[in-house]
Amino acid sequence: MRLERKDLLGLRDISREEIQLILDTALPMKDIILRDIKKAPTLRGKALATVFYENSTRTRTSFEIAGKYLSADTVNLQVTSSSVQKGESLRDTIKTIEMMGFDVIAMRHSMSGTPQYVARNTNMRVINAGDGANEHPTQALLDMFTILEHKKTLDDLKVAIVGDILHSRVARSNIYGLSKYGCEVRVVGPSTLIPPEIERLGVKTYYNLDQAFKGVDVINVLRIQRERQQSALFPSLDEYADLYMVSSDRLQSAKDDVLVLHPGPMNRGIEVSSELADSSSMLVNEQVTNGVAVRMAILFLMMGGSRGEVAN
């Protein structure tokens, strides 16, 4: 089986079968990462550019090393510091990258819909590495892979997503992906950070952490951006932490084997307590490794590989 699509822009418009194919392929990819010699020749002669219009060390590095483990040539374009300052349009920047012969770009942009716009205007394959408040499909896929490793299934789990749902692409992609497995997704956060009519996505809304956590299998804690306070969306980080900081104490109502995920980097003492961050329930470090595996799987499947070829 192959991934029969030019681009990976989000999980909203992708089938459960495609998601499953990526998750299945990520498993042997993880083996490569854990080997002594971390190199497979599969993508030799292919070129990947990471094009990040927003700062991100971990996602960018994750894409870069994923490409390298599969022998692709990878280049990081520092677009924030070069073309934008020179006033170049996005269309021109993308054309320039395309003309250098890249096969695929992983794109991060602060504005929703930008990878979709780029994908319409280039022959290169486009992987959305996060666009505005819209989607972050590779993050959701690595979250799902991590859950799958521990729970052995994704079907019908109860998952709570905590924090700034309004601005979160991680939340949206997780909602779309998990819903395809019949999960009950709950969102919880201050009322100012819950977007309108989100229930129509099939999720349940909570303002109270303890109620939201009742019986959940997984908690995904979102990173809180300090600038939201400047926009008067909540009064202070202290008050946010009082109401929504996830700590071991607050896991009482959840299932005993509850998993806690965080896309990183963590604000310890704000959205997650330091002791929980270092506990065995917190999978943030595993997520990092799984992120590389999932991105390897996506690059591999998009550039023509099929599931059966991975092992060698």
Binding site: L90, R91, S112, T114, Q116, G132, P195, R200
Partner: protein, 429 residues
């Protein structure tokens, strides 16, 4: 030159004509209406199956000249209007320089006479530089031919300034045409706030941004007794507020655009910047309320808010794209196809919304089909079906969300002062 339009179905809500008749035009005026007219030396036009109406007026158009000729100019904008069935347009003053003095207003009118192909009536600014702080010289603007004042594109955020503008404008009297938007509530918004803004992850523009400002301006209009005209009404709440104000006798009129009547926020889904417009495309509930407002007289007229942009202003990230739809060349077809054909709007009402209704708002004599009247005519072919292709627009602005759609019922001929300006979508002069 004599022009004889034969066999057309005349439709004029003012002179209450609704039947097949012939029209003889001579020296720029309608000479005679009658059955089976035979004039030997006249050029004959067979309008069988066509609807012959008084010339359409669009009281809300951005012609962009002076200053933004790369987006549109008076030559291209008036050709777009003529192709779209309009014989008169009012142009908004957010040019560069803005129309806040007689020199710019006169420039626009002179350019319209030199390079335009239809009538152009300028709208002046409410405040100098559209900065919302000092009143523009309204007497000077009236003397230079302005028919209303507007800071369209921006609200007048300061209530005291708006109160003074209304108080001052009422002595001419000039309609004060307001763009109602509380900029604090619409802050950084890209589309209608609701389910689809949640789905697409774009910052929403709440209906509140429009409604709170309309509520304020209605109170100011009631207090001052001035004529308030509310531009591009887009929400159910706005319709309700205006309906209640009219019942109280407030001197308020308002307009709605074809796109707010026919497109929902769902189509933003592809992040196509041609769907980006201010006020934004709303949800179905609001579309229904706008239609009801048209039907019960709360909404007075239809106007395009034609907002042409250069392709580079639309071929970019959604957030970076300019707001606006280039709508002159599809307005009539959209309404014919989506509202008249489906029975939601009577054809005679559509004609009224584009003729006597805007004329009344502007304080002009309504265009009529009658002997002695100026020969400004809009002729519609209700049966022709065409695909919208912005590449063929006369407007420089190709930003139109109806692109690729098949619409039935198009303007067939536009006659201004007795001269055929457009025929079957093609300019004849």
């Amino acid at each position: 030159m004599k022009l004889l339009i034969k066999n057309g179905h005349l439709l004029d809500p003012i002179s209450k004509i609704d039947r097949q008749m012939d029209i003889l035009i001579e020296n720029g005026c309608i000479q005679e209406l009658g059955e089976k007219l035979e004039i030997e030396d006249a050029i004959q036009i067979d309008a069988s199956g066509k609807i012959v109406c008084p010339g359409f007026i669009d009281l809300h158009v951005h012609l962009r000249e002076p200053g933004f000729e790369y987006k549109e100019d008076i030559a291209s904008g008036t050709r777009a209007a003529a192709a779209g069935g309009f014989t008169t347009v009012c142009c908004m003053p957010n040019t560069d320089p803005v129309i806040d003095n007689a020199a710019v207003a006169n420039f626009v009118r002179e350019r319209a006479l030199l390079s335009g192909v239809i009538h152009v009536l300028p709208i002046g600014c409410i405040t100098r530089q559209q900065e919302g702080e000092l009143l523009s010289p309204m007497a000077e603007l009236v003397a230079a031919g302005c028919v209303g004042v507007s800071d369209d594109g921006k609200p007048v955020m300061n209530a005291r300034i708006m109160r003074n503008a209304l108080d001052y404008a009422k002595m001419f009297p000039l309609p004060v045409m307001v763009h109602c938007e509380d900029e604090n509530l619409s802050w950084e918004g890209q589309m209608h706030e609701g389910y689809y803004s949640t789905l697409y992850g774009l910052r929403g523009i709440p209906t509140l941004a429009e409604e709170t400002m309309i509520a304020r301006d209605l109170m100011l209009a009631e207090y001052t007794g001035a004529h308030l005209h509310i531009c591009h009404v887009s929400t159910a709440g706005s319709v309700q507020l205006i309906r209640a104000a009219k019942q109280k006798g407030v001197a308020v009129t308002c307009e709605v655009t074809p796109h707010h009547l026919t497109l929902t926020d769902e189509i933003v889904g592809d992040y196509d910047p041609d769907t980006k417009v201010n006020p934004p495309l709303r949800s179905q509930k609001h579309l229904d309320a706008l239609l009801e407002g048209l039907q019960d007289g709360t909404i007075d007229c239809i106007a395009t808010d034609h907002a042409p942009h250069h392709w580079e202003d639309k071929d970019c990230e959604y957030n970076m794209a300019a707001f606006g739809i280039s709508g002159l060349e599809t307005a009539v077809a959209v309404l014919m196809d989506r509202l008249v054909r489906s029975g939601k709007l009577e054809l005679a009402e559509l004609v009224r919304f584009f003729t006597s209704a805007p004329a009344r708002i502007l304080g002009l004599a309504p265009p009529v089909l009658a002997a002695g009247a100026a020969a400004d005519l809009t002729i519609i072919d209700p049966d022709i079906e065409k695909k919208v292709d912005p590449k063929n627009f006369y407007s420089k602005g190709k930003n139109n969300p109806y692109k690729g759609m098949h619409l039935k019922g198009w303007p067939w001929m536009t006659i201004v002062d007795g001269e055929i300006i457009a025929h079957d979508g093609k300019i004849q002069v």
